[in-house]
């Protein structure tokens, strides 16, 4: 890893950056370094580490400035990076998540189909035909930025964000996809809704998705969607893992 750059975030963190591109190559470096630092921390070779936050093309390293000094922990992290391979990290877990693509649940279906020049069936086939990689989480607890959305479904964000996007909404914007874990404002295009609970503080881990996971959507009928909403137990995380995932 010789193409990295360090950026300052005050005296409690720094960021290790791998170029400007948002792609799997950069993400593999971020995730590789994250796991290597975790291992080195457990082995006692990184002191004062508080947290690692992987994002598209950088890794935030936050530390306790009363336990270590920047010079020390940066040298420890750089030593880990120097010994770290660029080999891509395989997806940690593979999820298969149900989506109902009905108009009232995916109010932007028509607009997206028009922009893409696809029929509804074709749009659903494209959206469900790809394994999405979870690059990072952010924006709100459990909100996963996944990609890459196939070319025809790539649209700029809505010019006017919605004040309230319902929890479970399956959305796309540009090359990225996501599911809103909570009711919240949002500017992405809504294609459907999943009955899955993405964040539950009582679960360990609390978030269904984690950086490095892989997600595949599959279409379900309205009746199945509503049955699942009434019986969330059927959607416990262990029932959502793909075969061998």
């Amino acid at each position: 890893m010789d193409d990295l750059r360090i950026a300052d975030l005050g005296d409690t963190a720094f960021s290790v950056e791998f170029g400007e591109a948002v792609d799997r190559t950069a993400s593999a470096k971020v995730m590789g370094l994250r796991h290597a630092i975790d291992d080195a921390h457990r082995a006692g070779n990184v002191t004062g580490l508080v947290e690692l936050v992987p994002t598209f093309r950088s890794l935030l390293v936050s530390y306790d400035p009363l336990v270590t000094r920047r010079r020390t922990i940066q040298a420890e992290v750089m030593a880990v990076a120097a010994a770290c391979s660029d080999a891509p990290v395989t997806a940690a877990r593979s999820w298969r998540l149900p989506v109902c693509y009905d108009d009232d649940l995916g109010p932007d279906i028509d607009a997206v189909c028009r922009a893409a020049g696809l029929s509804r069936a074709e749009m659903i086939a494209v959206h469900t035909g790809t394994d999405y990689f979870v690059y990072m989480l952010g924006f709100m607890p459990g909100f996963a930025y996944m990609g890459d959305i196939p070319e025809p479904l790539r649209l700029p964000r809505r010019s006017t964000p919605r004040v309230k996007v319902p929890a479970g909404s399956v959305a796309v914007a540009g090359s990225l996809g996501a599911v809103y874990p909570w009711d919240s404002p949002g500017g992405w295009h809504l294609l459907g809704r999943t009955p899955v609970t993405f964040f539950d503080p009582a679960r360990t881990p609390p978030s269904l998705l984690a950086p490095g996971d892989s997600v595949r959507f599959h279409a379900v009928e309205r009746a199945d969607y509503e049955a699942a909403c009434r019986d969330p137990g059927r959607l416990a995380p262990e029932h959502l893992l793909a075969e061998g995932g």
Binding site: V53, T55, P65, M136, G138, Y145, P206
Partner: protein
């Protein structure tokens, strides 16, 4: 019922906070925690707690509560106007902030406006008997994470106490109020100072800004000269820390505080050093701020200095048993003691 504090009036925005919920930022979970970690530590020290025990963080206007335990020791750290009255035939008496008080069943504490800061902290000896959520008692209201359903206090909220009674040892007082410093807020440039024009960086480091009314636990939006980006405000979303100063497309800087999102897609011109975070956490709308750049070594030295300031006050805590019998009302009325607790009669 088990010992507790009963909330008669919740105040403007009173939440339970400790040092924060660490370890879940990779899952998008904000750290939250006390806006002023120095105040949290001092409040806890006043009642003999561990430094990071969860306290009530009182914003702008405090709650009114009734003691439903045989006795309890509590302390409020911060520039508060307080009322305290005994339910049982309350004789009017006044109590100071920045010291502990042993109270009895039925006592009513009415906490008024925070006078010169946006937050103050109330600690109870032994702590609140609440179950941590994901390892922390900090409250993150936007996602409903934390004790009490992740919500601020409400009328009728019951705050269970771990200690059924308070020891009859002397109460303690801070030797002096915490000094949060003045002068420019110290920053380290980065992580994206290169996203800004040279002129914007120079302006940021020389102009005066004012904390706007858009100020909450998530951050402080500043009013003042706009800062121009070289090529737009958007970056590939990356990680954030408290103190990050992000600048969206309108050019107006926003200082992120405890409830900030874990990641963000706006360029960040600089980051406030940790030693100045408690001061910013207390900054009220209208506060004027300017910024001065420091090196990481200077930032680390400043943080050590802040720790020494906190520790000096903790080691200097003095017993105030001798104060009993003094007519505190007279002291208050004659303005000899700052941060007084006023008194009300019981029901």
């Amino acid at each position: 019922m088990s010992p507790h504090l009963h909330i008669l009036s919740p105040g403007l925005h009173t939440t339970i906070q400790d040092f924060g919920r660490f370890g879940f930022q990779d899952l998008g979970v904000p750290v939250a925690g006390a806006l002023d970690f120095a105040g949290l530590r001092l409040a806890n020290a006043l009642v003999g707690n561990q430094p990071g025990e969860a306290c009530l963080e009182i914003s702008t206007l405090g709650p009114t509560l009734r003691v439903e335990a045989d006795s309890v020791r509590l302390a409020i750290c911060g520039p508060m106007r307080l009322m305290l009255g005994a339910a049982a035939g309350g004789e009017r008496r006044a109590l100071e902030a920045d010291r502990s008080h042993r109270l009895s069943r039925g006592d009513i504490v009415e906490i008024g406006a925070v006078a010169a800061a946006s937050v103050a902290y109330l600690a109870v000896a032994g702590g609140f008997d609440l179950a941590p959520v994901m390892g922390s008692l900090s409250t993150y209201v936007r996602a409903g994470l934390g004790p009490l359903g992740g919500k601020p206090l409400a009328v009728g909220t019951v705050l269970p106490l771990r200690a059924a009674t308070a020891s009859d040892s002397d109460d303690l007082a801070l030797p002096e109020a915490m000094a949060y410093g003045g002068g420019p807020i110290r920053v380290m440039l980065g992580p994206q100072q290169d996203s800004f024009t040279d002129e914007a960086v120079a302006t940021f480091l020389s102009a005066e800004y004012t904390v706007s009314k858009q100020a909450d636990r998530m951050g402080l939006r500043l009013e003042g000269p706009r800062l121009a980006h070289r090529a737009g405000p958007d970056i590939a979303s990356d990680g954030l820390v408290s103190g990050c100063i992000q600048v969206p497309g309108d050019g107006g800087p926003i200082i992120l505080l405890a409830d900030h999102q874990t990641t963000g897609g706006y360029a960040k011109i600089a980051t406030v050093i940790s030693a100045d975070l408690p001061r910013l956490g207390r900054a009220m709308p209208g506060t004027r701020l300017s910024f001065a750049p420091v090196s990481v070594e200077q930032a680390e030295a400043a943080r050590q200095m802040l720790e020494r300031e906190i520790e000096r006050r903790i080691t200097g805590l003095r017993p105030v048993g001798a104060m009993i019998g003094i007519d505190l009302t007279a002291l208050y009325d004659s303005n000899l003691v700052s941060g007084m607790v006023d008194a009300i009669d019981g029901e």
